[in-house]
Amino acid sequence: MIKTLGLRKSFGDNQVLNGIDVEIKPHEVVVVIGPSGSGKSTFLRCLNLLEKPTAGEIYFRGQCITDPKVNVNEVRREMGMVFQSFNLFPHMTVSENITLGPTKVRAVPLKEAEEHARELLDKVGILDKENAYPTELSGGQQQRVAIARALAMKPTAMLFDEATSALDPEMIGEVLDVIGNLAGEGMTMVIVTHEMGFAKQVGHRIVFMDEGVVVEQGPPGEVLGSPKNPRTQAFLSKVL
């Protein structure tokens, strides 16, 4: 469903991605792990073109989206993104946050969008917060709204950029549960995380990145259980 070929990204002289070739199949859950500065977040942000790749190609559903002629807005509405810092719109209620995309981008009637928003809020377990403002919610609740907001566009794939890194420990579980349920429903997902237990539990495949390249990838049992590459071994010995 998503395929990158020789993906490179640099900020000035700083080479962050040095040629990434990864393919994500439909309904697959790929978890990207690696030390800070390994380029995993940049990789994720390149997938929906929030960062413009310096070189290489990205294919999404067979279409080369790095082609300058491609309408990036059409691509982005198909890929939901969840950020580390939630990025909810503070001047809008929870319901308005969720219905904005569908009503403005997909021209869904407001009533229908609100109905769908309620279904999604129910799904992430905070139906009662429909009319609250983001500042009135806990971090875990805000992130669940952010997930509902992304799902409201009925995306074909979801990208999670360290979705639990900004949360208090007691709230991490509630967000991971929601992501886990999505995986169970067959959503195609790319997840950047530091939660190794979670990676093992929901990931169909683990991709270990370091210094802008994919060092090792494979099923969670192999990569996390018996890593072959010394760099993977060194990283895991620190975080497990």
Binding site: N73, R76, R77, M79, M81, S85, R149, A152, M153
Partner: protein, 219 residues
């Protein structure tokens, strides 16, 4: 020297006529400033380098030169260029509007840039175009932060309208000068003039403080 404030009631009508012109100048000036400033302020954060450069030159030129010089440029300078005189009132509102536009532009630019980058990213990631993201996400948040400094800009502009007295427009200050030639009471008259300015600026600053409280940014 004995102060004689008993002359005040007699001169007040004249001063209030001047005040009317002062308020007119400030309101029209700030209205023009708002229009220019909104456009230029958005231009300052444009992705187009040429637009950024041109708007940047405008802002730097206006903010880096005295309003009095700008007023002279329009009132005395422009006629020689276009071959006919510029009416004093037109020159005054043009100079004030163009001047205020540069300051408003900086306020607008700062307001837009004060909105967290993640807001734009989140808006774009649900598929909104850059224009839609600006309209629904960035501007509404920037607007709340822009209101208080805009109020301060209006206060500054109101005070600066006193400069137009030098091109013979009968604003509050000029009316005061005229009255003095009749009464020979400069201290009392200038005190009255100053107090009228103070009443206006104080009123606006209270209004700004009130709006600041009401529009307190939620984040």
């Amino acid at each position: 020297m004995i102060l004689d404030f008993s002359i005040i009631p007699g001169i007040l009508p004249a001063l209030l006529w001047g005040t009317k012109l002062t308020i007119e100048l400030a309101l029209i000036g700030v209205a023009i400033g708002l229009i220019i400033g909104s456009v230029v302020g958005i231009g300052r954060v444009s992705s187009n380098k040429l637009v950024r450069t041109i708007t940047g030159i405008y802002v730097d030129f206006i903010r880096g030169t005295p309003l009095l010089v700008q007023l002279f440029l329009v009132y005395f300078g422009l006629p020689s260029l276009i071959g006919r005189p510029v009416p004093a009132f037109t020159a005054a509102i043009a100079a004030m509007g163009i001047n205020s536009g540069a300051y408003v532009a900086e306020i607008v630019r700062a307001g837009i840039q004060s909105v967290d980058k993640g807001q734009m990213e989140a808006a774009r990631s649900v598929g909104l175009t850059a224009g839609q993201a600006m309209r629904y996400i960035i501007f509404p948040q920037a607007f709340r932060r822009i209101i208080p400094p805009l109020g301060n800009e209006f206060i500054a502009l109101l005070k600066e309208t006193s400069l137009v007295s030098v091109i013979a427009l009968e604003d509050l200050l000029r009316k005061g000068q005229v009255v003095i030639t009749r009464t020979f009471r400069p201290f009392e008259v200038y005190m009255a003039v100053a107090l009228i300015y103070l009443v206006m600026t104080f009123g606006i600053s209270r209004l700004v403080a009130w709006s600041e409280k009401r529009l307190k940014v939620v984040d």
